[in-house]
């Protein structure tokens, strides 16, 4: 059964939405939902569809961890987000379509190890893990923003080097704007990723801080594909304004890459 929820900006909207999603009820959202730095974890098959709806002030407002499930997030707007708008960890099929992510505030993130931590502010529009069987990311507007002292990424697909994967990523017809690091960054998908018909303009700001030179890679790219996997990058439009960037970078960090 599909439930329609009218957002009023009251924190109780969040609780109602959490309850319906935990029950696996499909929801249609209308109006504004104030997440007040909170997050909902989606553990089951569900469809979350907006009808002129905005998720406000969430801290990674939706985390999808629904092994074997099908999750659809469609037609939602995100404003005032911290960290990332969507963290898509696991599903048999995940669809994110026609969403708008408008500005994401960075949080300090460890780029190093536990024994040698190296914190730097990072913000991402959405993170798609290679543990998803099929990920369809299409027709979204991702405008992350950020300063030269922050790493920001539009769409970030991430797997583990050498891991077995059945992931099929289809990233198409997205509009990506204003990222200081990568517009679309796919790492170790290990299976197949199709990146087509996206419109990427990296904007005027890029991040290559002097303090990190020699400590981490500092590449700036419209589209980057790193590590093993079959990557098809076709018919995208990319504008790069930074003097030390590549519009498209293919990169192997290991001999088997």
């Amino acid at each position: 059964m599909t439930q329609t929820i009218q957002g009023t900006g009251d924190p109780k909207d969040f609780e109602l939405l959490t309850e319906y999603i935990s029950l696996g009820e499909d929801v249609i959202l209308q109006g504004e939902f104030d997440f007040s730095r909170r997050s909902i974890t989606v553990n089951t098959s569900v469809s979350i569809v907006g009808d002129n709806a905005f998720i406000m002030n969430g801290d990674t407002p939706f985390i999808v961890d629904a092994p074997g499930g099908t999750v659809t997030i469609e037609n939602l707007g995100f404003k005032g987000t911290t960290n990332k708008a969507l963290d898509l960890v696991r599903a048999n099929k995940i669809v994110v379509a026609n969403c708008q992510i408008l500005g994401v505030a960075a949080v300090n993130t460890n780029l190093g190890t536990q024994t040698k931590p190296l914190f730097f502010p990072i913000a991402t529009g959405m993170v798609v893990h290679a543990d998803n069987r099929i990920a369809e990311i299409h027709d979204n507007l991702v405008d992350v923003g950020g300063s030269a002292n922050e790493f920001t990424i539009g769409i970030f697909g991430i797997g583990v080097s050498g891991a077995s994967s059945k992931a099929e990523f289809r990233v198409y017809r997205n509009t990506v704007r204003n990222c200081t690091r990568h517009g679309i960054d796919l790492r170790y998908i290990n299976q197949s990723a199709m990146v087509m018909w996206n419109d990427i303009d990296m904007g005027p700001v890029a991040s290559q801080p002097q303090s990190l030179i020699g400590r981490v890679d500092l590449f700036v790219n419209g589209i980057r594909c790193l590590g093993s996997g079959y990557y098809l990058v076709a018919e995208n439009r990319i504008v790069c304004n930074f003097e030390n960037a590549a519009a498209i970078r293919l990169q192997g960090n290991y001999d088997a890459g």
């Binding site: 590449f219 700036v220 419209g222 990557y231 098809l232 990058v233 076709a234 018919e235 995208n236 439009r237 990319i238 504008v239 790069c240 304004n241 930074f242 003097e243 030390n244 960037a245 590549a246 519009a247 498209i248 970078r249 293919l250 990169q251 192997g252 960090n253 290991y254 001999d255 088997a256 890459g257």
Partner: protein, 112 residues
């Protein structure tokens, strides 16, 4: 495979850093095909292949294929194709200048 993308390199100020290229294959990028991409603006290189020393030793692009469109003057670059040192076995089909510092590079000119 990287095919039929439209790339505009629009740097300001117009000084290129070492990682600047419209399309770059870096470290152990292997057996990729770069086909008929439309490049414009200004860049250090249109397509660059770059080997680099990492913690695992020298990582080099090997066995990549570039099929480039005829130069239409829309990209201003120091080298339209830059094949770096330690890059091996690159196959290039183009009528464009190739700066080749690699080994086993084969350049085939288009016959119009």
């Amino acid at each position: 495979m990287v095919v039929s993308n439209d790339v505009l390199m629009n740097p300001t100020p117009q000084m290129f850093g070492p990682d600047n290229a419209a399309i770059e294959l870096r470290r152990a990028a292997r057996n990729s095909c770069i086909v008929e991409n439309r490049l414009q603006g200004q860049a250090r290189a249109g397509v660059a292949l770059v080997a680099e020393t990492s913690t695992g030793g020298m990582l080099s692009p090997v066995g990549n294929t570039l099929v480039l469109p005829d130069h239409d003057g829309r990209l201003k670059s120091d080298a339209f194709v830059a094949v770096g040192k330690n890059v091996t076995d690159t196959l290039i089909r183009a009528n464009l200048p190739v700066e080749d510092n690699g080994s086993g590079t084969m350049v085939f000119r288009r016959i119009n």
